[in-house]
């Protein structure tokens, strides 16, 4: 099943996919455009991975890491499907990053790779924007690059784990203004989904609805105000986002 959280009629609802439409738990059915999409789970602890695809690491002139390069993101950065992300007017390098998001299903500590999928609730799509102008070499990638308000669209759906046969063999792509600009496959991850769950749960407790954003493949390029950016993953759907200038957010 594909699940979502949406706002409609002045209230927040759990919903699911129904014949290409959105069905609320009370039975009402709406089109995708009639609802306001929220992140499919309420973000609490969210991990993201840097340089987790060999081709992307090479593109940025880094050798592949020996240990996962994991960092944390705050709830402030997440927005749902069809929403707008603000782009500071003064920057040059704002890049999209299409990523497979793994949602944890139950408390996990010291989980072995072989058991890791038992702790997964499902999967979603995330666009983990980075504003590379703000990169500094302290706790890199720093929060000013990776934890900006509105800079992590996620959704539209949380797809149940058992609906995805092999999360390590899904095609990903990004489409900017109708043109495909990034293509890859989750089979090229350096640290796999079970490997990341083993790694992270090996030193800290993971909780239900924690999210792991698993990194992006090669092909990240710049986006500008007015662009429509769609990130897609096979079997998970299509996450649409619009880039807007600071002024839209009343930035002084």
């Amino acid at each position: 099943m594909k699940r979502a959280r949406v706002a409609v009629g002045g209230a927040v609802h759990d919903a699911f996919e129904y014949n290409g439409k959105v069905k609320l738990t009370d039975g009402r059915v709406f089109s995708e455009q009639e609802v306001e999409w929220l992140p499919p789970v309420q973000p609490q602890t969210v991990f993201a991975l840097g340089l987790n695809y060999a081709d992307h690491a090479k593109e940025l002139s880094f050798s592949a890491p020996k240990e996962p390069l994991a960092f944390l993101k705050g709830p402030n950065t997440f927005i749902g499907h069809n929403a707008s992300t603000k782009r500071p007017d003064e920057v040059t390098f704002m890049h999209y990053e299409c990523e497979l998001g793994v949602v944890i299903g139950k408390t996990a500590k010291n989980v072995k790779k072989e058991d890791a999928y038992k702790y997964v609730k499902g999967y979603t799509i995330s666009n983990d924007y980075a504003i590379r102008d703000y990169l500094e070499n302290y706790y890199r990638p720093n929060l000013r690059v990776k934890n900006r308000d509105t800079c992590t669209p996620i959704g539209p759906w949380l797809v149940d784990r058992d609906d995805i046969e092999d999360p390590m063999n899904l095609s990903l792509r990004t489409i900017v203004n109708g043109e495909v600009t990034q293509e890859g496959s989750t089979k090229d991850m350096i640290f796999t989904v079970p490997g990341l769950i083993e790694y992270l749960s090996g030193f800290m407790t993971l909780n239900e609805n924690d999210i792991i954003l698993t990194g992006t493949p090669k092909g990240t390029t710049g986006v500008n105000a007015g662009d429509e950016v769609i990130t897609e993953i096979e079997g998970l759907g299509s996450l649409k986002n619009h880039i807007v200038s600071d002024g839209v957010f009343q930035k002084s």
Binding site: R144, T205, S252
Partner: protein
Amino acid sequence: MVKAKALFNDLYQPAAIEVNAAANEVTVKNNTHQADELHWRVPVSGTVYGAALNYKGELDKLGDQLHEDPYKEPPKAPVLYIKPINTLSPHQSVIPLPAEEKELQAGAALAVVFGKTATQVNAESALDYVEGYTVVNDISIPHESVHRPAIKQKARDGFCPIGPWVVQKDQVSNPDDLELRVYVNNELKQTASTKNLVRDVKQLIADVTEFMTFYPGDVLLVGTPENPPLVKDGDKVKVEIDEIGALENKVLSDKQG
């Protein structure tokens, strides 16, 4: 007596209390208790962010390294990290020492607790968004490098003791002039002052909210001073901040790993 709020025993909501730090007493609805008689719980509800390298002494210690690889130049923006929810732990809780480690670093931190949503606020009005202050012991596995995010060293279960209470903002004379002290087994190991912050509390809030929002209940640790004391299995560690309170925890080996 200072006005504060806290969560303890079986309360559902934080309660208003009055604290007499010198006597280690708290007054709740006209009943006075020894602070140690209560079962304290984590007094905040939001996300905990920390600022690294925000004490001048920390930058001084790095010295020329700030200009060398991998850093290349001194930091321009605040250097931030997140202490996720698995790390939060109350006053008098146990800090688990991972089986493979011998020592941990105690990071004495003044913690700013937000009361209102703060986005793009300027330094002059920054304290309008603050509800109060509490004490954090930002525990880390000792590590030299600040090049990569240190979640394996800083985000372990129980690595962010916080509390015991949140002192109301108007009870604190000046957050930029508070002395911090760290005691290990009742022996004074470190003294520092928030006078030595690189960015003072208001400026730090302004520079962070330039790109990210704090929500009510979120917390910002304004920094940890240079030369953090080390603690080992069995140690009692206490972080005390003038006008706020004292947070005490015990380090115990995590035998289960």
